[in-house]
Structure formats: structure tokens, C-alpha cells
């Protein structure tokens, strides 16, 4: 191989690599691109079935929606992924979101069975309010995490790294909360 040919080949590889990196960056910025990259880079069998809880139309209950998510090594990363799916909202048209689309999850901490979710101010600023709305937001997080992660018994919601009295003025958030089973949508025949 001549020297000039080698040079051309090197340049070609360089362009290809740069293009690939560029494409990855582009995809990452796009909505849902991150999971697309994951599905490209991670083999299909590395998935985990997660039950997400969203609001029913009458905002009286939480109903389950199953979703296959990429499996993460670290529990903290897996939780972040699950919360991000909750922020995206339900796929089913019968169900309604429980978190504003603008919600930012800043950090996740786990301490002796309690999971601390640290959200940005956006969660509060974009919340529709009301006792029902607030309760569904809180327990979609609490019920989803306690259902899917055996090591999580309780969840406490923080805003901008701080403990808060409430999210929008009703439900006490000053201590960690357990799953609230009474919010799960009952089968049609059961009594309230």
C-alpha cells in the first residue's frame, strides 16, 4: 500500500468515526434518542419489565402500565430511568400523566430502604394542584418504586435538595411514604 493510499484510508476512518459520534450526539439530543442509542448499543435480552403507575381519567386511582426498559447495573441509574419513563407519561390514551413533562429529577439516593428523589422546582411550578392531583403525583412515584424495587420500602420526595412540607399544599412530605394500595384501580366489580 502506498503512502498516499494509507493517508486516504486513515482520513476515511476518521470521517466515519466523527460521523458516528456526531450521529450519536444528534440522537441523544432528540426526544427518545437516548433509549434508541441504548437499544442500538445494548443487546435486546438486557431488558427489564417495569410496572408504571399513571392516573385514571377520573383522577381517582392509579393504574398500571407495563414497559420494558433497558437494564442498568446500578439501582440508582435504574430508578432514574423508571422516573424518566413516569415523566414521559402513559402510552395508553385511557390513562393520564402524574408528573409535568418539564419535571427534572436531579438525583436519587437510597438509604436503608428509603429512596430519596430529589426534583427540581419545575415539578412544583408546573403542577396542576388539588389534593387528588397531588396525591396521584406522589403515589405514582411511591407505588411505582416500591412495586419494582424490592430494596425500596419508602420514598421521600425532595425539592432542590431540601425536605419539603408538601408539594403543592396538601399531602405531608416531611417524612418518607409507603405504598398506598387503596389508590390502585379496583376491578370493576369490587366495592370502594
Amino acid at each position: 500500500m502506498s503512502r498516499s493510499k494509507k493517508k486516504w484510508l486513515f482520513l476515511l476512518v476518521l470521517i466515519l468515526v466523527a460521523g458516528l459520534i456526531g450521529a450519536l450526539f444528534y440522537l441523544k439530543e432528540r426526544k427518545g434518542g437516548e433509549s434508541l442509542i441504548r437499544s442500538l448499543l445494548i443487546p435486546a435480552e438486557e431488558k427489564v419489565a417495569i410496572s408504571l403507575y399513571f392516573s385514571t381519567e377520573d383522577a381517582a386511582y392509579l393504574a398500571e402500565e407495563k414497559r420494558d426498559l433497558p437494564k442498568e447495573e446500578e439501582v440508582g441509574d435504574q430508578i432514574k430511568l423508571v422516573v424518566k419513563e413516569l415523566i414521559k407519561g402513559p402510552a395508553s390514551s385511557n390513562l393520564f400523566p402524574t408528573l409535568p413533562g418539564e419535571t427534572v429529577l436531579r438525583e436519587v439516593y437510597i438509604e436503608e430502604g428509603t429512596c430519596f428523589l430529589d426534583f427540581g422546582q419545575e415539578l412544583r411550578d408546573n403542577h396542576p394542584g388539588g389534593s387528588s392531583g397531588e396525591e396521584l403525583t406522589i403515589f405514582s412515584l411511591v407505588n411505582t418504586l416500591t412495586q419494582n424495587f424490592s430494596q425500596i420500602e419508602r420514598v421521600q420526595i425532595l425539592i432542590e435538595g431540601k425536605e419539603v412540607e408538601t408539594l403543592v399544599g396538601h399531602i405531608d412530605l416531611s417524612s418518607p411514604l409507603r405504598e398506598k394500595k387503596s389508590l390502585l384501580a379496583p376491578p370493576p366489580t369490587s366495592t370502594p
Binding site: 388539588g130 389534593s131 387528588s132 396521584l136 403543592v168 411514604l177 409507603r178
Partner: protein
């Protein structure tokens, strides 16, 4: 015949008759250097004393609910709730049976002096000792427990307990209702699709409800936690109601949700389920898992845990009454207006958890639903909601006046 009459006289002498009081107990308070006395009555041979008076003399904060006839005593970290005919009393770390049961006599709650000496003192951080033969009760602080109290010179003089004249029976008979219009000021609450704000709606509702109740029953005393558009922190609302020793606390709200189709009326009470940590902690204490003696107060979390139990206790005492009030409000309002009845629900509300009285939170309709937002704008609709709640309160009052009577 003479025999029968004689035996009747004999029975009359020895049966505990309607005489009141049976005698007086002298009280020496070593904490305030006060000397006073309280009446006692004898039930089954046991001397019973009026617990509210006694606790006030001992410097405890006393809440007397004139409607439910329940007494709440608070001192240091201790909270105790007592009610006529309720034998089981929750002392935080454990539950004890009071024998004879607390009794309502002449509108005062009487408890056995043995209960005061053996249990009440300990729970409130006080040391009571009673000399039966002299009918003399001495009050000291808990750390004086092992000392011969009467020989001990007083080490310090704390300020005397505040027993204001206003809290005497004449005003106690006036039922106090605290109405709490939710949100306000910088906190608009939920906002409707066309911009109606929760804080405006609930303030107007509260004013209507106050006016209506005052008109229907002039003996009621109605106080609002806010009467304008300003911010009031949640804990201030509850402590306001506690400070005024309210008999009923009603927090007024309108609902919101992500789903614009969500609609209807609902009434909430505080949930017992959310405080399952309390139950667990109490059980742990009872089982000796957390040994108070061994830990000796060294660990910070132990103290926090106990305080958590105590802080949660008082409101749980009122859940039954609160549920009853919820039912009446649900019925009262859904009878007046055409609205979906979402029923009675429970949640762990910040504004209700420390309320020392029956308390409810009303969610009148969904402001996030365009149709219900339009209804909430309508003065006629607000008037009907207020009148439904007003009728429920009056019915609640009447039902207690019927059932809570005198036991003697």
C-alpha cells in the same frame, strides 16, 4: 314494713348517691408553690378528680373539646387524650386501662386519682404523690421522683401556669369552628383553564359559610384562618385552630388534576394508614426492641422517633369523629348541588395532622375541569356548597348534643 323502710334508709346511706362533690383534695404544687384544692367524687370506692382542672394546676396545656367532651393534655413531649367512658388510654409508649373509666360529671371529666398518680404524671413528665389519709396530692417534676418531696426546698421557680379567665366554662359552651380557606397570597392553589384561582374561590366560600353559620346559629363562634388574599403557612393554620381551642376545623379547597375530565365533590379526613410507622414504632417500643432505658437518650434518632409517635397521637384520637363529619358534609353538599359524588377519602394532610379536634378537608369541585370551573365562578353554586356544609355542621353539633349527656 318498718324493716323494709329501715333497710331502704340503710341502702340510701351506703349507696353512692347523687351528692356532689364527695369531698375535696388539697393540692400542693411544688413547681409553682401554689396551694389549692379540687373536688373529688367516689365511684366504686375510688376517688376520682376533675382531670382538666388538675392538669391546668400542674401546668399542662389543656384542650377541652366541648362538643365531643374529649380532653387533650400536653406537657413537654407528652400528649394524652381522655374521653368519658373510654377505658383505654394511649400513653405513647403503651396503652393502659383506666378503672373506673373516665366519667363526665357536671360537664367535667373525672379520672381516678390512682391513674393520675401512677400513669398521668409519668406521661407528662410530672411526679404526683397522694396521701390517702390526708386527701393531699403533691405535684413535683419527674426528676424529683425519688426525693422526699415535702422536705425538699424548691430549686427553681418557673412561671405560674397561664389559666386565663376566658377559658372558663361560660365561654367554653360556645362552640368554636375554625374555617380554613386554603392557599392565598403567593400560593394561588390550583388554576382553572380560563384562569380562575383556587385561593379566590375558597376565600369566598369561607366567607359565605361563616355568614351562613352565624345567621343560622348565633351561639356559634366562627373564625377564619385568613380573611384576605395573603399567604399563611400550613402549620400556622393548625396551630391557630389549636390556639383558639376550636371544636371543629374545616379546610376549604377546590381540586385539580392532570386529567381535565376529572370532576366531582369529595371530603377528606386524615388517614390512619399513612402513620403506620407510628404503629410500628409503638409496637417496637412495646416489644422492647427500642429500649429507652438502655439507650439512655444518647442516640438522636431514638428521641426523634419517640417525638414522632407522640406528635402523631393526638390527631388519631379524632379520626372517628372526623369521618362522621365527612359523611354529613358529603350528604349535605351532594343533596344541594348536582355534582359527581367522589365520596369520603383519607390522606395524610399536612394541615390536618396536628389538629387537636375533629377536622376535615373539603375539595368542592375540580377547577381544572372547564365545566366545573364555570360552576365555581357562579355565586349561586358557591352559596349552595356553603349551605350544604353549614347544614352538615349544624347536624353534627345537634347529634353530639343529643348523644353526649351527663352520666350522673
Amino acid at each position: 314494713m318498718a324493716k323494709i323502710i329501715l333497710s331502704l334508709i340503710f341502702i340510701n346511706i351506703f349507696m353512692p348517691g347523687p351528692s356532689y362533690p364527695d369531698g375535696k383534695i388539697k393540692i400542693i404544687n411544688h413547681l409553682t408553690h401554689q396551694r389549692t384544692e379540687v373536688e373529688f367524687v367516689k365511684v366504686d370506692g375510688e376517688k376520682m378528680v376533675p382531670v382538666k382542672e388538675l392538669a391546668e394546676i400542674a401546668g399542662a396545656t389543656v384542650y377541652w373539646n366541648s362538643l365531643t367532651k374529649r380532653v387533650i393534655l400536653k406537657r413537654e413531649n407528652g400528649i394524652i387524650a381522655l374521653k368519658a367512658k373510654e377505658a383505654e388510654v394511649n400513653l405513647g409508649q403503651r396503652i393502659v386501662k383506666v378503672n373506673p373509666v373516665p366519667q363526665l360529671i357536671k360537664n367535667k371529666l373525672f379520672v381516678p386519682i390512682n391513674f393520675v398518680v401512677n400513669e398521668l404524671g409519668l406521661a407528662l413528665g410530672l411526679n404526683f404523690s397522694f396521701i390517702e389519709s390526708l386527701d393531699r396530692l403533691t405535684i413535683g417534676s419527674k426528676d424529683q421522683a425519688d426525693q422526699p418531696i415535702e422536705l425538699r426546698p424548691a430549686p427553681f421557680i418557673p412561671p405560674p401556669p397561664e389559666i386565663s379567665k376566658e377559658e372558663q366554662p361560660s365561654l367554653n359552651n360556645r362552640l368554636k369552628i375554625v374555617i380554613d380557606p386554603g392557599h392565598g397570597g403567593k400560593d394561588s392553589g390550583a388554576i382553572g383553564p380560563s384562569g380562575l384561582m383556587e385561593k379566590e374561590v375558597v376565600l369566598d366560600l369561607a366567607k359565605r359559610l361563616k355568614k351562613m353559620l352565624e345567621e343560622k346559629d348565633p351561639t356559634l363562634s366562627i373564625i377564619l384562618t385568613r380573611d384576605g388574599d395573603y399567604f399563611v403557612p400550613l402549620d400556622k393554620r393548625t396551630s391557630f385552630a389549636n390556639h383558639h381551642k376550636a371544636d371543629i376545623f374545616i379546610s376549604l379547597h377546590v381540586n385539580g388534576a392532570f386529567s381535565r375530565k376529572a370532576n366531582g365533590f369529595e371530603v377528606f379526613h386524615l388517614s390512619a394508614e399513612a402513620s403506620d410507622d407510628t404503629a410500628r414504632a409503638t409496637a417496637a417500643l412495646e416489644n422492647g426492641v427500642i429500649d429507652l432505658e438502655k439507650n439512655g437518650g444518647e442516640r438522636k434518632d431514638r428521641i426523634d422517633y419517640t417525638q414522632f409517635i407522640l406528635a402523631d397521637m393526638a390527631q388519631l384520637e379524632f379520626i372517628e369523629e372526623s369521618i362522621e363529619l365527612c359523611g354529613l358534609i358529603e350528604k349535605g353538599v351532594t343533596k344541594k348541588i348536582n355534582i359527581v359524588d367522589r365520596g369520603i377519602k383519607s390522606a395524610f394532610f399536612y394541615v390536618l395532622k396536628d389538629a387537636l379536634m375533629p377536622s376535615v378537608l373539603v375539595e368542592a369541585a375540580f377547577i381544572t375541569n372547564p365545566f366545573e370551573e364555570a360552576k365555581l365562578r357562579d355565586a349561586g353554586f358557591r352559596e349552595e356548597v356553603a349551605s350544604g356544609i353549614a347544614e352538615a355542621i349544624l347536624e353534627y353539633k345537634a347529634s353530639y348534643e343529643r348523644t353526649v349527656g351527663y352520666t350522673r
